[in-house]
């Protein structure tokens, strides 16, 4: 058996932690697939029945835009697995996969996988642990996202800096979580930037004082007889008060 293949399969997230012996059994029960450039590995929308481990070569993950043109979502190379979730459920494929060059892949079907699970409680338990860990991980991020969403609603963006390290942490643990976090932070930064621009705009506009009008309004108020009398009275009053203060102090 190809040891290199065992090393590769070991790194697939859901198999991570299984014994070499269990991995060997899974590998042995898989089917080796040889693909030429342009061959389709899976089609978007069809029921997924198996996982593919790319042993060598490069595969593109594709979907279509609204006009029906192909859009490449990602490229996967040696050691990467695609269609992992098909081992546990039979949902339609969310994207297609086509070989970009000659490829070798190991296909593990759900049927094969379930036979192994039936026969090996140790493998079942390990898989359950793996998924419960994932679930816990996802829940943690959902809870964080709820907390952050509340902060955003209150205009508090201070969490971004504190939470940036999570991105690296998540990156090593779960690529999807890292993707979500990255998308979330990008969104928050954009919202924050828009808000700051708006606020600056408001602050800037606040200083538009029409100096000519200021002068005109001032002259209108101070030009009346009432005002000249008032000014005179105020002057007298202030002088009187100043004198009083002087006499009180002395």
């Amino acid at each position: 058996m190809n040891r290199n293949l065992i090393e590769q399969i070991k790194k697939i997230d859901i198999f991570n932690g299984l014994s070499d012996e269990a991995l060997m059994e899974i590998t042995q029960q898989g089917t080796l697939r040889i693909l030429k450039a342009g061959d389709a590995l899976m089609k978007k929308g069809e029921t997924g029945n198996s996982l593919f481990l790319i042993h060598s070569g490069l595969v593109k993950i594709i979907t279509e835009d609204s006009k029906g043109d192909e859009v490449i979502l990602n490229k996967c190379g040696a050691g990467e697995a695609i269609g992992e979730m098909a081992l546990l459920d039979s949902s339609p494929r969310s994207a297609g996969a086509v070989a970009l060059e000659d490829c070798e892949a190991l296909e593990i079907s759900r049927e094969t996988f379930q036979k192994i699970l039936d026969a090996r409680p140790d493998v079942s338990l390990q898989i359950i642990r793996k998924y419960s860990h994932r679930l816990r991980f996802a829940t943690t991020y959902i809870e964080r996202a709820i907390d952050w969403a509340q902060k955003i609603a209150e205009g508090d963006y201070s969490f971004i800096e504190q939470s940036q390290p999570l991105l690296n942490e998540a990156g090593s643990d779960n690529a999807k979580a890292a993707q979500l976090l990255s998308a979330f932070f990008t969104m928050v930064n954009k919202v924050k930037a828009r808000e700051e621009d708006l606020r600056k705009e408001v602050a800037k506009l606040s200083f538009e004082i029409d100096q000519e009008r200021r002068k005109k309004d001032f002259e209108e108020i101070t030009g009346t007889e009432f005002y000249s009398n008032l000014k005179e009275q105020a002057k007298t009053l202030r002088m009187k008060r100043a004198q009083q203060n002087k006499s009180e102090e002395s």
Partner: protein, 262 residues
């Protein structure tokens, strides 16, 4: 304390939080151990009495009665510290010395005084009597917004004019004119207070500096627009009920500034 100070609080437009600010400033200065009075010269639309827990039923003699020679200022004075309401934080005023000189809320009396007009000397006598009869250190004057004749009278008699402005074009424009008028009337101290500000972080300093430059007067406080204040301002003195709030902290800066003036 040698000489009592008349501190007029004014804003060009309504809705800037003038009465609310005046009441809070007066309370803070009273808490600093000063004997403080608050005169409501907003005879057209008096309202500050509500903030001090004085309702229509309790209202006795008013400034209008003094103006018509029917009462002395001592009789008009309502001792706020002796009528501490159940509003949150209000009990702090129990040991303070704070009197309110309310304006009549009776419609007939309001139209009567507006028709007759307010005499400068009579208003000045009211303020001076309030100071001497209650032995005040500070007398805060809550004015009517805008630049009508009564307001000009209040400005003309004050030692300190606190101008409240909201950072928007129209208000800045009117406030600029008010500041010019105050200088023309030789008001010794002009103090600016920005209310309902949206500035945060570094913008606060920019807004402050720009405003000081435009008006050539110090900005003693920059109070943030706050839903907390909006919710509670009409029924309590916010700086007493929520002293740790950013709004209250900035308000105390203004009170400190007023206290520091010679």
């Amino acid at each position: 304390m040698s000489v009592a100070k008349i501190v007029s609080v004014h804003s060009f437009r309504g809705g800037t939080g003038k009465s609310n600010t005046t009441a809070n400033l007066a309370a803070q200065v009273a808490l600093a151990g000063k004997r403080v009075g608050v005169v409501d010269t907003d005879i057209q639309s008096p309202g500050i009495h509500v903030l001090f827990g004085l309702d229509e039923a309790k209202m006795g003699k008013t400034l209008n009665d003094f103006m018509h020679g029917k009462a002395s200022m001592k009789e008009v004075a309502f001792p706020v510290h002796e009528h501490v309401s159940a509003a949150p934080g209000f009990e702090k005023l129990k040991n303070a010395k704070l009197w309110l000189f309310p304006s009549s809320i009776n419609g007939r009396e309001i139209s009567q005084i507006l028709k007759e007009g307010v005499d400068f000397n009579k208003l000045n006598e009211a303020l001076q009597n309030a100071i001497s009869e209650m032995n005040l250190d500070y007398l805060f004057v809550d004015t009517h917004p805008g630049l009508n004749e009564e307001t000009l009278l209040s400005i003309a008699t004050s030692d300190v004019l606190v101008l409240i402005l909201r950072p928007d074009d129209q208000d800045m424009q009117g406030t600029a004119v008010t500041a010019d008028v105050a200088r023309s009337l030789d008001v010794p101290h002009l103090v600016l207070m920005i209310n309902k500000s949206l500035a945060i972080g570094g913008e606060i300093q920019i807004l402050k500096e720009n405003t000081e430059k435009q008006f050539n007067a110090p900005v003693a406080g920059l109070l943030p627009l706050s839903f907390d204040v909006a919710r509670n301002a009409s029924r309590e003195l916010f700086s007493l009920s929520q002293p740790d709030h950013e709004w209250s902290k900035e308000l105390r800066k203004v009170a400190q500034f007023v206290l520091s003036l010679e």
